[in-house]
């Protein structure tokens, strides 16, 4: 479904990614792992159009999306969350998710300023859908809270709810379990499972190995910007190169 071909990203002298090729299967949960600085976030930034990649290609169902900016990827169903949560801090939780429905509505400045009937109908639907996704992620009771004042774990869930509101085909999550306690992590695993059941393909960067091995179908291992290995959790756990890299790091 999502195919990476020879992705190379160079920053000045740093080769953050070098010739990474990989395919994400539709409907799967794919884990991207690797030591700090391996290039995991950079890979997400490249796919989601935040960086102009040095060379290589990104395909969504054989259609090239190389170099598409994020606002062009959103309507195609590619969305992501951030390692350092990027919430709309001064807006309420509900409003955050309503922004996630931006592409589901079309009223322009004039329709909104004059409250044309079509706009009012849209607004009602947006509100309903946003509430649905808050309930889906289990933070429905926080709808009226200002996002900037949320505890960390809830903030992560809100980021996921907001991304889901786009009804994406694929969601990229950058370390969704970082900073969560073990109960929150277990809840997150359940949530990711339900996201997949909703027909959304999941790619996640994660350091929590237990979580990754538990829920992922496929794993991509990066090290120093290069692909070190790929395979099922079992294959990865037995891969000598991966073991060496992780032991070397420790």
């Amino acid at each position: 479904m999502l195919r990476l071909e020879g992705i190379t990203q160079v920053f000045g002298g740093i080769r953050a990614l070098e010739d990474v090729s990989f395919t994400v299967n539709g409907g799967s949960i794919t884990g991207v792992i690797g030591p700090n600085g391996a290039g995991k976030t950079t890979l997400f930034n490249v796919i989601s159009g935040l960086y102009t990649l040095t060379s290589g290609n990104v395909y969504l169902d054989d259609r090239t999306i190389t170099g598409f900016p994020p606002e062009k990827l959103a309507p195609l169903g590619v969305v992501r969350t951030f390692q350092n949560i990027e919430l709309f801090g001064q807006m309420t939780v509900l409003e955050n998710v309503m922004v996630g429905l931006h592409t589901k509505s079309t009223s322009g400045i004039i329709a909104c300023a004059f409250k044309l009937p079509g706009h009012l109908r849209e607004e009602r639907i947006i509100r309903e859908r946003a509430r649905h996704w808050l309930d889906f992620t289990g933070i429905g009771e926080l709808a009226g809270t200002v996002a900037g004042s949320l505890p960390f774990g809830k903030g992560r869930l809100l980021e996921i709810a907001r991304a889901l509101a786009l009804e994406p085909r694929i969601i990229l999550m950058d370390e969704p379990a970082a900073g969560l306690n073990s109960r929150e992590t277990a809840d997150l695993a359940g949530l990711i499972g339900r996201i997949r059941e909703a027909g959304i393909t999941v790619v996640l960067v994660e350091h929590d190995m237990e979580l990754v091995m538990d829920i992922c179908d496929d794993i991509l291992v990066l090290n120093l910007g290069r692909k070190l290995a790929e395979g099922t959790p079992r294959e990865i756990q037995e891969n000598p190169a991966v073991i060496a890299a992780y032991l070397g790091e420790g």
Binding site: A74, R80, S107, C112, A113, K115, E122
Partner: protein, 321 residues
């Protein structure tokens, strides 16, 4: 939503009855300018408070609206309403043209670019003597009229301009509570996340800049036809800073706050005539103090302060009990 409507109706009622209480007089003239400044502050707030993009040159759009209307009517004899339409278009088009390159800039760079725009336009007003009359000004601008009614007195102008002001407030409130308003605030808080959500931040910023310029140019046109005389001094850097101060005092992202800021900063100098020459210093001080102590503006800050004080009282009471 109901509360919003009630709030607006109260404001509209207030606008209607104030002239009856004042029974004409000098203050009516001041209130005309309060109306114009409110339009400008609300317009700037859409850009600064909602989208989070600074403009230190907004007086330029006000001036372009004013001079377009003034020149087209006084020199070329156009109907004032037609002139207003042309003036509004001119402001909007200029904003689109300069908006695309300069709104790519962020923070200080955007501030510098808009500052530069303001200065250039101000220089043109001064130097294009053939058109603008230069520093000695442009006179003989006709009043607006509807049918047989000519808007030539303070009271008539008051109702005319506050009609426009109320419309500006209402439409801006609607916009603020819509998907566009949310997208703008999203850009303000995290542009990258807004883009990932499918908000075309680049384009939306330019469009809101253009809308802001449109409103400012209309305000400029109203100003020209009310004053019937223009000179460049009204459209300089000082006035741009004054507008920013109004928005900040009232609160970034609060439409009623902008109204409040405009009322305060228009009435205050009238009362503190002695400060006249130091107004820019006073504005600077207000800006510094506001950003330090009340970044949400007075309209949000004062209730918060009262809340905090009464909470402290409440706690104190408990300790004693």
């Amino acid at each position: 939503m109901k509360r919003e409507i009630v709030k607006f109706l109260i404001l509209a009622l207030l606008v209607l009855v104030v002239p009856l209480l004042l029974k004409g007089g000098y203050l009516m003239n001041v209130l005309v300018f309060v109306g114009i400044n409110t339009m400008l502050a609300v317009a700037l707030n859409l850009l600064l408070g909602f989208a989070g993009q600074i403009s230190l040159g907004h007086a330029a759009f006000f001036g372009i609206g004013a001079y377009c209307s003034g020149i087209l009517t006084a020199t070329f004899g156009l109907n004032p309403w037609h002139a207003m339409a042309v003036a509004a278009c001119a402001g909007t088009v200029l904003a689109f043209v300069v908006g695309f390159p300069i709104l790519k800039l962020k923070g200080h760079y955007l501030a510098m670019a808009t500052l530069g725009l303001g200065i250039i336009v101000y220089i043109v007003f001064n130097e294009a003597v053939n058109l603008t009359g230069g520093p000695s000004g442009l006179s003989g601008i006709p009043n607006l009229s509807v049918g047989k009614t000519v808007f030539d007195s303070d009271t008539k102008n008051y109702y005319l301009i506050w009609g426009f002001t109320l419309a500006t407030i209402l439409l801006s409130l609607n916009l603020a509570h819509s998907r566009i308003g949310r997208a703008l605030r999203a850009i303000h808080d995290s542009e990258v996340a807004a883009r990932v959500m499918g908000v075309n931040a680049r384009l939306l910023k330019v469009r809101i800049f253009a809308l802001s310029a449109f409103i400012s140019a209309v305000a400029g046109s109203l100003y020209a036809h009310t004053m019937t005389f223009l000179s460049p001094a009204s459209f300089g850097f000082n006035f741009s800073v004054e507008l920013v101060t109004m928005v900040v005092i009232g609160g970034l992202g609060s439409i009623y706050g902008s109204l409040f800021g405009a009322v305060l900063l228009t009435l205050l100098p009238e009362m503190l005539r002695t400060f006249q020459d130091y107004d820019i210093v006073v504005y600077g001080l207000i800006l510094i103090l506001m950003t330090m102590f009340m970044p949400g503006g007075l309209v949000r800050g004062i209730p918060a302060m009262i809340g905090a004080v009464s909470a402290r009282r409440g706690n104190g009471g408990n300790e004693h009990a």
